[in-house]
Amino acid sequence: MRGFFHKDNQQRKENANGLDTSLSKNIERIQEIFYHSSDLIIREIQIGKTEPIKAGIIYIEGLADLPSIHDYIMESLMLDMDETNRKQQNYFDFIKQQVLTIGDIAYISDFDSLIKAILNGGAVILLDQQAQGIHAKAKGWKDRDISEPHSQTLVRGPREGFTETFSTNTSLIRRKIKLPDLCLETYTIGRMTQTEVGIMYIKGTAGEHIVQEVRKRIRSIDMDGVLESAYIEEMIQDHSLTPFPTIYNTERPDVVAAALLEGRVAILTQGTPFVLVVPALFNQFYQSPEDYYHRADISTLIRLLRLLALFIAFLGPSLYVAITTFHQEMLPTPLPVGLAAQREGIPFPAFVEALLMETTFEILREAGIRMPRAVGQAISIVGTVVIGDAAVNAGLASPAMVIVVSITAISSFIIPSYDMSISIRILRFLIMALASSFGLFGIFVGIFALVLHLCSLSSFGVPYTAPFAPFIVSDQRDALFRFPQLGLMFRPHLIRRTKKKHSTFFNPTS
């Protein structure tokens, strides 16, 4: 099914795009284009009493708002039209100037824009003997209400999240940043889906080169469909051969607003509540918006805790395997004795044991997500029993391993970004393999390779590991630590265009 927009080029040329003057020909043509789809509504009416003229109203059921078509188009045309006011004007001008009581209208003179208008939920009014149409923007489809985002929950902070509707999403950001400098550039991407994709940034704050780069990459996308922002993400990311996300995504307008204020660029996509933010650096992925909604000292400690959890999630089982199979002398004597007692009778090496438990957990986790909600409970019960007790009693795993796997699992949930959490999960298995063959040596080789890899990444020209490598002293205020707002006067060094944020602080002494 290749739609109208790229029906064979030849046919397109033959059919010259312009509307015909005959209403019936036009209508016939439209029906042909839509293959007589049953949800395409074509209402033919007659307007005017002195000089009756045929008119057609064309829209798609469900996309256009029926009440406004009835009230502001049909009623105006059929009942309220007072022809005495019509002087020398033709019907077309008369209608659009004096009859239609609908806010936003546009003219259409070719089939391309007519089709676009209809597919976007507009109603098109065609008159007989006119090679022009009126596009009444009466878009009105069902939207999801603004609700709390599910992927990033906070204790304190705004409860609103983006929805699937592009205009709602842009308005959510506009509500937060009331600034004419907040630009929105909209592109239509996807040959078939014709998805609206918008770039949002604050002019003068966002680095012009970054905006330019985003524009360039967005424009170069050529694909059939864009159903989610992930499609865009994959097409514009800097590196595809990496487990790490180089584009940040969020459901939260406050996060996007904060990013825009820092000088980043947001990419909104019609049809998904996930908005992309570029450039995305490594340190963004362990930060949470809540870091800024609590006091600085608390936020700093929690951020450090999160980093610790990140390391546990990444290295937990590997360290256990490495130390218990290679470096037993590193443990205080009672510990290896206790562990050895637990391992009595376990048939597998520690690595296989860890792999077994980790894989089981990953399966449980995936099942927990895919399962219908109603059976979710069953999963958690089975999971607790399988991972917790049965595996130990059956002699498949030692209790210590169960502890390690559990703490690793819980730690991986602390990472605020789901994408980063997935990357860590994958890399964990690699490091485990290294640990089981080389011990701590392997782990360190793995970490070295990983750090080198991280340093080779960049997101829209900004080094991924900034502000650690390159080390930027002024940005340390909001990297590992979260300084009080007083200390956060500067925008990130590599992203900003203008240095200082506009803020003054209440000074109790003055």
Partner: protein, 399 residues
């Protein structure tokens, strides 16, 4: 494409390498907690005390059965390493030395010289050097390693902990680790001293788990005195008091107690909380002269009898008496060492530091010189506090 291939190649090489070098699962190890070395004819008798994890660690995994928490294996060989390897004929798993806590040297080995046996232990990478080295006094190391202990199920752990504790709270024991022993063995101006371990009670009874059910243990391992070496050969034993004097002089005392008798029949006990010691050897008129300076800080720990503690004179008297007593302890141990002609205090090292030229002349027969070395002992004893009571109860009773 080349870029993609490189990691793939590396990964393929990794697969080839997964021979898992040096990998040992915990349950494939026989964790050796103590090693004992005795002499048997011209061979060494090596005893290894191996932990039985299931019995030592509580909880599941151990399975039932009332087995001993440790098993001691013995082999005879000409060298230590050989003996250890030969032991694999008896042990079901590979002996692992990383958690060895105690090295027990039999008296007969010590009398012949310990340098030979220490070499392997120093050379092998698996040993951690934080275990203690003690000498079995009046018994064989294998007997020591066949004794079960109360509270701490692992006898080696018991010996380790009790040496650690008594070195902290009781002056006569001394903690010697491998690195210290080796450096003292090779130093010409200092000879080693090791703590002695004794086995009291019924040895045979102490070997079975059943007998552990009685409240007073049938046999008990305890530290007493120390073994004095000349180079690497055991020459004699310090008794408790001489060991104490030795430790005061070496600054090893962290805390201990000591009392003096009041001429009127009472006793005052001081609890030592801090000591500092310095050994110096200077050359005066062409002759070396050694001095020991000891600073002791103590609290009054016990006062028995009708003594006025609050009187500064009593404190002064007590301080002087204690200084004299500690001084005589030190002198007695120096006298013993002089008798055996072994400089365990390191007067030679002190001389080497203060007067390297003179040392070069006497280094060869330092032991002879040491035997005639005049040593002056200066003790500075200070009372800090008298505890949470003022006068002794007996005194308050009389008033």
């Amino acid at each position: 494409m080349k870029k993609v291939l490189i990691p793939i190649r590396v990964c393929m090489i990794l697969i080839l390498l997964t021979g898992c070098w040096n990998r040992r699962e915990l349950n494939d190890l026989a964790i050796n907690s103590a090693l004992g070395i005795d002499k048997s004819g011209d061979q060494y008798l090596l005893s290894a005390q191996v932990i039985n994890p299931g019995q030592i660690s509580p909880g599941r995994g151990g399975g039932g059965g009332n087995y001993a928490p440790v098993t001691t294996y013995r082999t005879k060989e000409m060298t230590i390493f050989n003996a250890l390897r030969k032991m694999s004929r008896q042990t079901p798993r590979k002996l692992y030395q990383g958690h060895m806590r105690m090295l027990i040297i039999g008296e007969d080995v010590a009398r012949e010289g310990i340098a030979e046996v220490v070499d392997f232990i120093e050379r092998d990478h698996e040993f951690r050097s934080n275990f203690f080295i003690v000498v079995a006094k009046g018994t064989r190391a294998e007997k020591i390693l066949s004794t079960l202990t109360h509270i701490e199920k692992n006898p080696a752990e018991k010996m380790f902990r009790s040496l650690e504790m008594s070195a902290k709270a009781w002056a006569p024991t001394v903690e010697v680790r491998l690195d210290q022993l080796v450096s003292e063995l090779i130093s010409p101006g200092k000879n080693p001293v090791l703590t002695a371990i004794q086995l009291n009670g019924d040895i045979e009874e102490g070997m079975t788990v059943d007998k552990l059910e009685s409240v007073p243990p049938p046999s008990i391992l305890q530290y007493g005195g120390s073994a004095v070496f000349k180079k690497d050969v055991l020459v004699g034993w310090f008794n408790e008091n001489e060991s104490k004097g030795y430790n005061y002089a070496m600054g090893n005392v962290r805390s201990t107690t000591g009392f003096v008798r009041d001429p009127r029949g009472g006793k005052i006990l001081g609890e030592v909380i801090r000591t500092k010691a310095r050994i110096e050897t200077r050359v005066q008129n062409g002759n070396p002269k050694g001095s020991v300076f000891v600073e002791v800080t103590a609290n009054i720990g016990e006062a028995m009898g009708n003594i006025d503690i609050t009187d500064p004179k009593t404190i002064d008297w007590f301080e002087n008496e204690s200084e004299e007593k500690i001084g005589s302890l030190i002198q007695s141990s120096i006298a013993k060492a002089k008798k055996w002609k072994t400089d365990v205090f390191g007067f030679g090292e002190a001389l080497q530091r203060s007067n390297p030229d003179y040392w070069a002349g006497v280094e060869k027969d330092w032991d002879q010189t040491f035997a005639k070395l005049p040593v002056e002992v200066q003790v500075d004893f200070r009372i800090k506090q008298i505890g949470t009571a003022n006068q002794p109860i007996l005194k308050r009773l009389k008033e």
